[in-house]
Amino acid sequence: MARSETYENDLHLEATKLRLGLPGSNEPEKQSTSNDVVRSNKRASPDMPQDSGSSTNNSDISDARHEDCPPSSKAQIVGWPPVRSYRKNNLQPKRTDQNADTSGMYVKVSMDGAPYLRKIDLKVYRSYEELLQALENMFKVCIGKYSERDGYNGSDYVPTYEDKDGDWMLVGDVPMEMFISSCKRLRIMKSSEAKGLCCL
């Protein structure tokens, strides 16, 4: 997105540019991704236009890389607005299922080698495909397709989960509803470590 700044400003192309975002905001065009954006380590390139009234947001730069993602909810920045995750996750009243097992809603997701844990709401996903797609987007990895016989053979990473009994299981074996109600946390394992799970 590096351009010569002065030429653009003279022609007032900003005003007529089509883009996503609230009118009046001068955030650069970005593709939205699933709920959270992982911050990129690469900072703004030196010739990035810097307006005097605002500073470019580093997280917007990383959004520009996600061009293959279907636009879903508007991209959110990690930890912003600054509300503790406990409060964020507990604002929706769950009046109907007071005695229902809530262990399948927001779960932690870890990936081998990634320093930050993430959290996802399992109830948002209607199928395993959607869930795996979201995980691929979140962690920038290839998980591949599930097959009953071979598991996730051929991909670098394998999605696993800890169930209510404390056992680590392969994602995809049981029907989605059963998975959601028994999943306590997710772990995306390196496939080299997951051999025991995949060989059935």
Binding site: L22, S55, N57, G79, W80, V83, R84, S85, R87, P93
Partner: protein, 584 residues
């Protein structure tokens, strides 16, 4: 100090001085006074060390546990803090640290009679809780705030072994569900319990056991239930414990939808019987039709926490119009500007307001604006502390607050849209925050947001002479901004910055000051590895931690550091850091 023996040997002058000093110093409670006293001379240092009974460790890595326990020998109460606040927002890598074990082990060794333990943002395991239970038979109070790593099995051990326990308070912790019925583990006989708080426990507890526990805890004054207790169950507890002063009302809704409303009278009576109730919280799944039940206690309330209650302006008004003595109000933005106006009209004594957003996103309409802030500033002149989340704000309202509420000590305004200007004038929010530091002469804590240029920081540096904590996000234009602050704010202790364009020269500008600070956090700024390394080399008592997202940290010139977290320490670099944390 009496001496055994049959004769009377007059004590030496030095001994007399020490005795007198100890007698006098034990009345000194304020931490900074004690620190000052200990610097006078050696005997004052020793006397102070012997008489300090409350140990405060603001950063668990600032000093080795043994060093603290060697100096202070007669400690009865410890307060230990671990992770910096930005850890709450997911900005800290997994398993970063703040493990409690080594501290607890040192305390077990040095303070077997320890009575109070308060931990904040520490990682504490069930093993650690077991260690506490087995080491401190006199333990009276255990308070865990924003901690994680433990579960119900740890709580069970505490409940069963700490027989002197008066206070077990869990605030906003992440508690693992081990499926142990810890409520049943309290002693069968009368307990000493005065305060039991577990509203952060996100799974059901054994209600029958809880009822029985209440029946044998006659001293219980504070009870904060989790949301797995229905309003019918709450009623049963209330009629048994009308002596409560602090109540967390749990779900505040019926266990099955559609309970007949004549139950309402019953609830009113139950609340009315609680003549000492001053603090209400909970309302986790509120059924607003039950709100009238609390009207009888409103006149005495000093603290009301509706921050999990999805209620509108009218609901709030119906309650708050009775709350003339209210000093603390936590509420959701669903009450809107109108709700805030209602609060401002009645709560003339309000000291603290926290307004949280129900939708934690930047791009929503929002329910509150500068109108609510202005109303609060005009109605609540004694305000000392405010936390306000909104989607739009004006400089005029903030300036008005700075003038109407000169007693402000804490001002935290979060305009949720990044870089958002004054929505009426389209100007940056510089003048608003400038007025706050200029007019609120007692201000010690400030969090800024919205569109801000270096000018705002020039104001902070010029007028924020008492500011101890400053939180900055998506703000400022150049390094000058932080330079103003580091050079102008002599009392600055904690600086937390994220996603702002500040570079290496900021680090050099703060060199003279970093040893006086508890920590500096800068994430997603423009700091380079070499510059951070330089600071680490020049300041031997500063631990400089750098977090990277990538697996293999890259040290190229143009790569910016993800996060810099640095803090003064007498201990030197820690050895429990995970692999993504590099200590330079």
């Amino acid at each position: 100090m009496t001496r055994p023996g049959y004769g009377y040997d007059p004590p030496s002058p030095d001994q007399v001085l020490e005795n007198v000093l100890e007698d006098v110093l034990q009345f000194l409670t304020c931490r900074s006074d004690r620190n000052a006293a200990s610097l006078v001379c050696k005997s004052w240092y020793q006397a102070e060390a012997l008489t300090r009974s409350d140990l405060f460790i603001g950063n668990c890595y600032a000093v080795a546990p043994r060093r603290a326990t060697d100096r202070f020998r007669r400690v009865r109460s410890v307060l230990l803090k671990g992770k910096p606040r930005f850890a709450d927002f997911g900005l800290m890598p997994f398993n970063w640290g703040a493990h409690s074990t080594r501290w607890l082990a040192a305390f077990a060794d040095a303070y077997p009679c320890l009575e109070r333990i308060y931990l904040k943002r520490m990682s504490i395991t069930d093993y650690d809780l077991g260690l506490i239970a087995n080491s401190f038979s006199s333990l009276k109070e255990l308070t865990l705030v924003c901690c994680e790593g433990f579960g119900t099995s740890g709580l069970a051990v505490i409940a069963s072994k700490c027989r002197q326990l008066r206070v077990l308070d869990l605030f906003e912790d992440e508690v693992n569900h081990d499926e142990v019925d810890w409520i049943s583990c309290f002693p069968e006989t009368r307990t000493c319990l005065e305060s039991l708080t577990f509203d952060c426990v996100e799974f059901p507890i054994n209600f029958t056991a809880l009822e029985k526990l209440l029946a044998r805890s006659p001293n219980l004054k504070k009870l904060r239930l989790n949301r797995f207790v229905s309003i019918e169950q709450l009623h049963r507890l209330l009629v048994r414990a009308p002596q409560l002063t602090h109540l967390g009302t749990a779900s505040f809704s019926p266990s099955e939808a559609g309970q007949p409303p004549e139950q309402e009278l019953d609830y009113r009576a139950a609340f009315a019987a609680c003549k000492s109730l001053v603090c209400l919280s909970g309302f986790r799944e509120i059924a607003p039709e039950y709100l009238p039940a609390i009207y009888p206690v409103c006149a005495n309330l000093t603290s009301l926490n509706f921050s999990y209650a999805n209620i509108n302006a009218e609901h709030l008004r119906s309650v708050i119009c009775h709350c003339h003595k209210l000093q603390t109000l936590w509420v959701l933005d669903t009450v809107g500007d109108e709700g805030l106006q209602a609060a401002a009209a009645t709560c003339k004594d309000l000291r603290e307001l926290r307004l949280f957003p129900i939708e934690v996103r930047e791009d929503t309409e929002g329910f509150v604006s500068e109108v609510g802030l202005l109303a609060v500033s005009e109605g609540c002149r004694k305000l000392r502390s405010i936390l306000y989340f909104c989607q739009r704000m004006t400089n005029a309202a903030v300036i008005a607050m700075s003038k109407n509420c000169p007693d402000l000590v804490v001002f935290r305004l979060c305009i949720m849209g990044r870089h958002r200007p004054d929505h009426v004038t389209n100007e940056p929010m510089d003048e608003g925050f400038g007025a706050i530091v200029m007019n609120c002469k007692k201000l010690t804590r400030l969090a800024v947001s919205g569109l801000l240029t270096d000018k705002a920081f020039a104001y902070i540096g010029k007028y924020g002479k008492l500011v101890r904590t400053l939180s900055v996000a998506f703000a400022g234009d150049t390094d000058m901004a932080l330079k103003y602050v580091l050079e102008g704010c002599p009392k600055l202790q904690k600086l937390e910055v994220r996603d702002s364009p500040f570079g290496d020269s900021v680090l050099r500008a703060g060199l003279h000051h970093f040893y006086n600070m508890r920590f500096v956090w800068m994430s997603a700024c423009k700091l380079t590895f070499p510059a951070c390394g330089e600071i680490a080399r020049e300041m031997p008592h500063l631990v400089v931690e750098v977090f990277t997202v990538q697996e293999v940290p890259v040290e190229e010139e143009d790569e910016f550091v993800d996060t810099l977290y640095m803090y003064r320490s007498l201990e030197g670099p820690r050895n429990d850091a995970p692999e993504y944390v590099r200590i330079l």
